[in-house]
């Protein structure tokens, strides 16, 4: 643990003794590692995508996700982004489909399809297919998406919350309704819906939403689903989960920690020095290359109505700016990065699980430019020398 890290506080997790076991999720952004300078703007020109290198990348990235299951991860996950070298995952259900054929046990966390931007009936169908094809292993992300995705699919960001709420009701109806039905919504209308297949998990697969704003936390509590916070430091994650707990308690129920996922980038090597030396480049590439266009587009959209409360707008802008000047050390300190020898990473994990109070550790091993062999070595070391010591936290 870094010397200046916050002292272990009596975190929210200490309050509840009968918590479900921690879940380890192997999350992949599928980044493009071959940029030789930061993209000037968002969207990133397709000219920089080389399909032959892309083919190789998809192969390696899928191999990593399959390996994660072998190594004992509980979930493997991916998400949806558009028009960017940040992630080659325009359609996460395609990756999910591939994973149904190459994994047997791990849950497939699609975090997710961007529900307000896609045809909700299509989301219901694809998620149901994944659930049936995987033998009931789908975790269904009902994700609102980063602000710029609304530019990509030409949808007014001010509609994002209402679209999410309506699409959600429609998808649940499509999953559970035994007769064909029509839907006369405000954003969606179908005269007849009758999906085949229906999901295997009954009444439907578990749902997670993003919990990055106060409004989405309220939505999560209201519908009693899990929330996730991504690319956020420990302080933000802890605040959001604590807010969720308080609202749930006010509503008369106690959420378990498996309703909370938080993502962290991880690199494990034999020694701290080796780990830091090797991770500096990939982390630097992630923030100074991959996130640059995202940041600019974010600021553009956030000026509009994507967030309905000023507090949420300011939080997002602060988080966006925070990502401008990062060092590996600062990232380790704020919790977004786990890095070091196995013992160090065990310490870091112990600290953050207690401090943040999350139950799903959404870990990213492939970061920025990190090559396949290095990712695999780090994963194996993590599975052999870290995982057994943190499973029962």
């Amino acid at each position: 643990m870094s010397a200046t890290a916050p002292a272990p506080a009596a975190g929210p997790a200490s309050a509840a003794r009968t918590q479900p076991p921690l879940l380890f999720s192997f999350f992949h952004l599928m980044a493009w590692p071959f940029l030789d300078r930061p993209p000037a703007s968002w969207p990133v020109s397709p000219r920089y995508f080389d399909p032959h290198r892309g083919r190789q990348l998809y192969r390696e990235y899928l191999d990593q996700m399959v390996l994660a299951e072998e190594l004992g991860f509980d979930w493997v996950g991916c998400n949806e982004h558009h028009y960017t070298s940040y992630g080659l995952m325009a359609s996460p259900t395609i990756i999910g489909g591939a994973l149904t054929q190459r994994t047997q046990r791990a849950r497939l966390a699609i975090l997710g399809s961007l529900v307000p931007l896609n045809n909700p009936v299509r989301v219901a169908e694809e998620y149901a297919m994944l659930d049936v094809m995987s033998g009931g292993r789908l975790v269904a992300g009902f994700i609102r998406g980063l602000p710029q995705e609304y530019i990509a699919y030409h949808v007014d960001p001010e509609e994002s919350f209402e679209r999410l709420a309506e699409a959600w009701d429609l998808i649940l109806r499509a999953w559970t309704e035994p007769e064909p039905f029509g839907w006369e919504g405000k954003y969606y209308r179908f005269r007849t819906v009758s999906i085949w297949p229906r999901p295997l998990q009954q009444p439907h697969p578990p749902i997670f939403i993003s919990g990055g704003s106060s409004e989405s936390v309220r939505l999560g509590v209201r519908r009693r689903v899990g929330i996730g916070v991504a690319l956020a430091n420990a302080e933000v994650a802890r605040t959001q989960f604590e807010r969720y707990r308080q609202l749930a308690r006010a509503d008369g129920w106690e959420p378990t920690r498996d309703l909370f996922f938080w993502d962290q980038a991880v690199y494990v090597a034999k020694t701290d020095a080796e780990a830091r030396a090797a991770f500096r480049g990939p982390i630097d590439y992630f923030y100074r290359y991959l996130l640059v266009p995202t940041r600019r587009a974010n600021e553009l959209v956030v000026q509009g109505g994507y967030y309905r409360s000023e507090e949420d707008r300011q939080l997002r802008l602060r988080r966006v700016r925070e990502r401008e000047a990062v060092t590996l050390e600062a990232e380790i300190e704020n919790g977004r990065v786990l890095c070091g020898s196995p013992d160090t990473v065990i310490e870091q994990l112990r600290h953050w699980v207690r401090y943040v109070g999350h139950g799903v550790l959404n870990l990213r091993f492939q970061v920025g430019t990190m090559p396949h062999e290095q990712v695999v070595a780090s994963m194996r070391l993590f599975a052999a020398e870290v995982l057994p010591h943190v499973r029962d936290l």
């Binding site: 309704e177 029509g182 005269r191």
Partner: protein
Amino acid sequence: MGHQAEGTVAALGCEIAYRAAGDGPPVVYLHGAGGLRWGAALDGLAERFRVYGLELPGFGRSTLPDSVNSVPDAADVVAAVMGELGRGERMHLIGTSLGGRVAAWLAVRHPERVDRLVLESPAAFRPPELPPLSAYSPEELRRLLYGNPEQAPPFDDPAVRQRQLQAVGRLTKGVSWDTELERRLGEIQAPTLILFGTLDGLVPPEMGRIYKERIPQSFLIYVYQAAHAIQWDRPDAFVELVSDFLTRGEAFVVPRAKEAVR
């Protein structure tokens, strides 16, 4: 409210009062347990149809003679009225809540009278474990009926409400689950549109399945963010759906580019 005519028709010992507006194919409308309330939705329909809003036996200015004692009796009375109003031709029939139960019975017993049938939040199957309507205060009832209470019509006079509850009690005999109708729904020959609001607090919207499963040519549509009173919560959506169905029948499932209702 558009220009309306009023009238009465004598049928099977009843005096049935109605209000009518609009020009076009004739449509008979049967109200729910709260009586005939003519709002923006019926005005909208009257732009494309001749709408006859009937008052069921025992409601408003309509009489309730001793001979009318059940929902099927009321359906027979309405069928006779339709014979008069339609001069023997088939008419479209829309029924809301209690009126939906009457309309479904009418379509079972008098198939020759009905062209196309619309059941808005029909109340023939209400799980018996739910409290009876009389158990709710007007304020509670309002919350179950309207997702958007600001758009709701005003409260009824308590004396009027008392009379309505008596009529409902006499026709339904307090039975909230009509097993006989459930058995006979399959006899309905008219193409049928079934509407339920996703927020319906009075009749669970899942009851729509019972109609959908049994009526041979039927379409179940959930109206998002509407409660029991779809006409008041989503009047434009109601008018669009019902007009389109009455005009195009089963072909209303085929999208048309020019329709755009929010």
